[in-house]
C-alpha cells in the first residue's frame, strides 16, 4: 500500500451550503455538509465511503469532481493542486495566498524538505521557478484554466445513483455516451464516434443496436450500465460511484458490482465508491472510510476495519446491519436518538450525544483523526474501547 502513489489527496476539505430565507433571500444559516475531511486514494484501489444519509458522502464526491466549489481545503490530483480550477476565478488569488504564499513566506528555505509532499512541489516552484514572486506564482494558476478544467473532467468521472434521472430521457443512448467525446473533441468524425460508443457499450455488457434506443426502453440495471459507459468513454483515471447500485434490484445489484470490478481491472481504474450499505462497501473496497456528520471518523484497510473497528460509530453501524441468517446471533448495539442536524453539529466529538461510551471530554474536545495501528486512522478519544 505504501509503495503505491496516491492519485487523489484531499486536505481539510470543507463544503458549507447556505440556507436562505425571507424575501431578501438572506443567508440565515449554513449546512456544514462536509466539515474538514482528509484522505488519500491510491492508484488502482477502491476506497469505500460509507455513512448514513445526510452525512456528506455525496458532497465529498461532488466537491472533488469540482461539481461543487469547495468552501475551504484543497484537492490534489496526481500531485497537482486542482483546487484553483474548481473554485470560481475570483477566489483563486485568495486561495493561493492563503494556501501557499503566506506559509511559504514564513518558511525558511532550508525547511522545504520537511514539508509534506504535496506542498513541497509548490514550494520548490515558488522559491526556484518564480523566485518568490507572488504575482507570477498566482498567474501560474490562472493560466490555461479552461484546458485544466477539461482535463479534470476527462480524468475524474462519476456514476450516479439514480439510473432513471441520470440519463436524459430525450437523447438516444448513443448520443448520451457520445456527447462526452464531442465535448472533448476526441473523435474526428461520426464513424469514429460510433465505433467508440459501440466499443464501450460492449464493454459494459450491452449491444450495438442499443445505441439507437432511448433510456426508457431499458431496465434499471441496463441504464446503470449506460451510466457507467458514459463515465468510462472518456478513459478517466478516477471514477466516483455515488450509490451506484443502491437503486437497483437485489438480483441486478451483483451484476453491476461484478461489472465494475471487471472494468476496474481492464481499465486500471481507481474508484471512490460511495454507499450507505456496509455489506456492499465491504465487498468492493480495498480501504474504507466511515463518515459521520461531515467528518471522517475512521479510515482503514478493509480487513482491519471489519476485524477490529475502533470507532464506536463504526461498531454500532456494523451491528445494525441485519444479517440474512436467522441463526446468526449477535449483540445488537441500538443507538439512541437520531443523527443531529449538520446545521448545528454537536460540540466536541460529533458522535457524543449518541455514543454509548462517551465521557466528559467527548463533548468538549474534538478528537483528531489519528493513526492507531498500521494505516488505521480513527477520530475518537477512546478508540477500541467498544466492541
Amino acid at each position: 500500500m505504501t509503495t503505491k502513489q496516491p492519485i487523489l489527496q484531499v486536505r481539510n476539505l470543507v463544503k458549507h451550503f447556505p440556507i436562505r430565507a425571507g424575501v431578501l433571500k438572506r443567508i440565515v444559516a449554513w449546512v456544514k455538509a462536509v466539515d474538514g475531511v482528509d484522505f488519500d486514494i491510491y492508484e488502482g484501489e477502491t476506497l469505500g465511503l460509507v455513512g448514513e444519509s445526510g452525512c456528506g458522502k455525496t458532497t465529498v464526491g461532488m466537491t472533488i469532481l469540482g461539481l461543487y466549489a469547495p468552501t475551504d481545503g484543497s484537492v490534489y490530483f496526481e500531485g497537482e493542486d486542482i483546487t484553483p480550477y474548481i473554485i470560481p476565478r475570483w477566489r483563486v488569488r485568495k486561495y493561493i495566498l492563503k494556501t501557499y504564499v503566506k506559509p511559504f513566506m514564513k518558511l525558511k528555505k532550508d525547511k522545504i524538505d520537511e514539508l509534506p509532499n504535496h506542498m513541497k512541489r509548490y514550494a520548490e516552484i515558488f522559491f526556484n521557478d518564480v523566485k518568490s514572486n507572488a504575482k507570477e506564482f498566482i498567474r501560474m494558476f490562472m493560466d490555461n484554466r479552461k484546458d485544466k478544467q477539461k482535463s479534470i473532467r476527462r480524468n475524474l468521472q462519476i456514476v450516479f445513483q439514480d439510473p432513471f434521472s441520470s440519463l436524459n430521457p430525450r437523447m438516444r443512448v448513443g448520443n448520451i455516451i457520445g456527447e462526452a467525446l464531442d465535448v472533448h473533441k476526441l473523435v474526428k468524425n461520426r464513424e469514429e464516434r460510433n465505433r467508440k460508443v459501440v466499443e464501450i457499450l460492449k464493454k459494459v455488457g450491452m449491444f450495438d443496436e442499443h445505441a439507437n434506443r432511448y433510456p426508457h426502453e431499458f431496465s434499471g440495471g441496463q441504464r446503470q450500465r449506460i451510466g457507467i459507459a458514459r463515465a468510462l468513454v472518456l478513459n478517466p483515471k478516477l471514477v466516483v460511484a455515488d450509490e451506484a447500485v443502491s437503486a437497483l434490484d437485489v438480483s441486478i445489484r451483483s451484476q453491476i458490482l461484478n461489472l465494475m470490478e471487471d472494468l476496474q481491472k481492464d481499465f486500471g481504474l481507481t474508484y471512490l465508491f460511495i454507499s450507505h450499505d456496509l455489506s456492499v462497501i465491504k465487498h468492493i473496497s480495498d480501504r474504507v472510510a466511515v463518515m459521520y456528520l461531515g467528518k471522517i471518523v475512521e479510515i482503514a484497510p478493509k480487513k482491519n476495519l471489519f476485524d477490529r473497528p475502533l470507532h464506536p460509530y463504526t461498531v454500532a453501524l456494523m451491528s445494525a446491519i441485519p444479517i440474512p441468517d436467522p441463526d446468526y446471533k449477535k449483540k445488537r448495539i441500538i443507538l439512541k436518538g437520531d443523527v443531529p442536524s449538520p446545521i448545528n453539529p454537536p460540540s466536541g466529538c460529533r458522535f457524543h450525544p449518541r455514543c454509548p461510551i462517551a465521557r466528559e471530554i467527548c463533548s468538549k474536545e474534538e478528537p483528531p483523526l489519528q493513526e492507531h495501528g498500521a494505516n488505521h486512522l480513527v477520530a475518537c478519544h477512546f478508540p477500541g474501547e467498544m466492541s
Partner: protein, 295 residues
C-alpha cells in the same frame, strides 16, 4: 420515444374536442393558403391583395347576396376580408407568439440556469412587465409608436414574453435537479450546451402548449387594437379592422336593431372559431402531456 409519440398521437385523436379543434385549425390553414383562389383579388389590387376591394359606392352596408356572400360593409366585400383576414390572423399570431416565446425562453432559461442575483434581477423585471395590464400597456405603446399592424405586433411582443419566461424558469429549476444535468456538467458540457441540449428539450412542451393557447388570445387583442383604430389601416383585410368600420352600423337601423347583423357576425365568428381552435388544441395537448398542469 417513437412509441411515446405514437401513444400521444393516438390519445390526441381519441379526444373529440382536440380533434374538433385540430379540424378547425386545418380548415383555417387551408383558407389562408388558398385565399387567392377562394377570394381572388381583382386585377386592380393584385399588387396589394390584402386591401379589400371596393365594390360599391354606397356607404350603407349591403346584406349577403350572390356576389357578396357575407355582405358588404364600408363599401368593401366582407367575404374577401374574412378570407384574407385569416392570413393576417396567422401572421400576427405566429410572429408575435414565436418572437415573444423566444424572448421568454431566453430570459427564463438564463434566469433559472444561473440563479442568484441574475435570476433576481431578471425576475423583478418580469414582475414589472407583468404588473402592467397587457391590453392597456399594448394600447399605450401602440399609441406611442403610431398606428399600424407592425406597431401592434411590437407592442404585443414587448408585453407578451413574461408568461413563457416564468414557465420555463420554473420548469428548468425543476429539471436542473435531475442528475443528467449534473452528469452533463461532469462530462464538461458548456452552459449553453446544457441549456440547449439537456434542459430545453425536457421543458419545452409546456411552453409550446402555452404558446398555442396564447395564439388565439393574441388575435383577439390585435382585433381590439384594430377595433380601436390603432391597428390595421382602413380597408385592410383584418377581422378586427372589419369590425372597426362596422362599428357605425352596430346599432342597426331605426326599429330594426339587427338589420346589419352580417357586418359583425361573419368576422366575429371567424375570430371566435380561430381562438377556439387554438384553445382546444392547446387544452388537449396539455391533458396529454401532463394532467398536473391543469389549473
Amino acid at each position: 420515444m417513437d412509441r411515446e409519440y405514437k401513444r400521444m398521437l393516438k390519445k390526441f385523436f381519441r379526444n373529440p374536442s382536440g380533434l374538433f379543434g385540430f379540424a378547425l385549425l386545418v380548415f383555417f390553414v387551408l383558407v389562408a393558403l388558398f385565399a387567392p383562389f377562394i377570394a381572388p383579388p381583382q386585377p386592380s389590387n393584385k399588387h396589394e391583395p390584402y386591401m379589400m376591394p371596393i365594390v360599391t359606392w354606397s356607404s350603407e352596408p349591403q346584406p349577403p347576396s350572390k356576389e357578396h356572400p357575407f355582405g358588404v360593409c364600408g363599401r368593401r366585400d366582407i367575404f374577401y376580408g374574412v378570407v384574407w383576414g385569416t392570413r393576417t390572423a396567422f401572421r400576427i399570431g405566429l410572429t408575435v407568439t414565436a418572437i415573444s416565446t423566444l424572448i421568454g425562453l431566453f430570459i427564463g432559461s438564463i434566469s433559472a440556469y444561473y440563479g442568484g442575483w441574475i435570476d433576481e434581477i431578471l425576475m423583478r423585471i418580469t414582475d414589472i412587465f407583468l404588473a402592467v395590464p397587457f391590453l392597456i400597456a399594448a394600447i399605450v405603446l401602440t399609441t406611442l409608436l403610431g398606428t399600424g399592424l407592425d406597431k401592434v405586433m411590437i407592442a404585443m411582443i414587448t408585453f407578451g414574453w413574461m408568461g413563457t419566461a416564468r414557465l420555463i424558469r420554473g420548469n428548468i429549476l425543476q429539471a436542473k435537479e435531475e442528475q443528467y444535468v449534473l452528469a452533463a456538467k461532469a462530462i464538461g458540457v458548456s452552459m449553453p450546451g446544457i441549456i440547449v441540449k439537456h434542459l430545453l428539450p425536457n421543458t419545452i412542451f409546456p411552453v409550446v402548449i402555452q404558446a398555442s393557447m396564447r395564439m388565439g388570445s393574441l388575435v383577439i387583442t390585435a382585433a381590439i387594437l384594430s377595433f380601436l383604430g390603432l391597428g390595421a389601416p382602413q380597408g385592410y383585410s383584418d377581422w378586427g379592422a372589419i369590425l372597426n368600420y362596422s362599428r357605425d352600423w352596430i346599432l342597426g337601423a331605426q326599429g330594426e336593431a339587427l338589420k346589419y347583423w352580417y357586418t359583425i357576425v361573419f368576422p366575429g365568428t371567424a375570430m371566435v372559431l380561430f381562438v377556439l381552435a387554438w384553445n382546444l388544441v392547446g387544452d388537449t395537448l396539455r391533458d396529454i402531456f401532463d394532467p398536473r398542469l391543469r389549473i
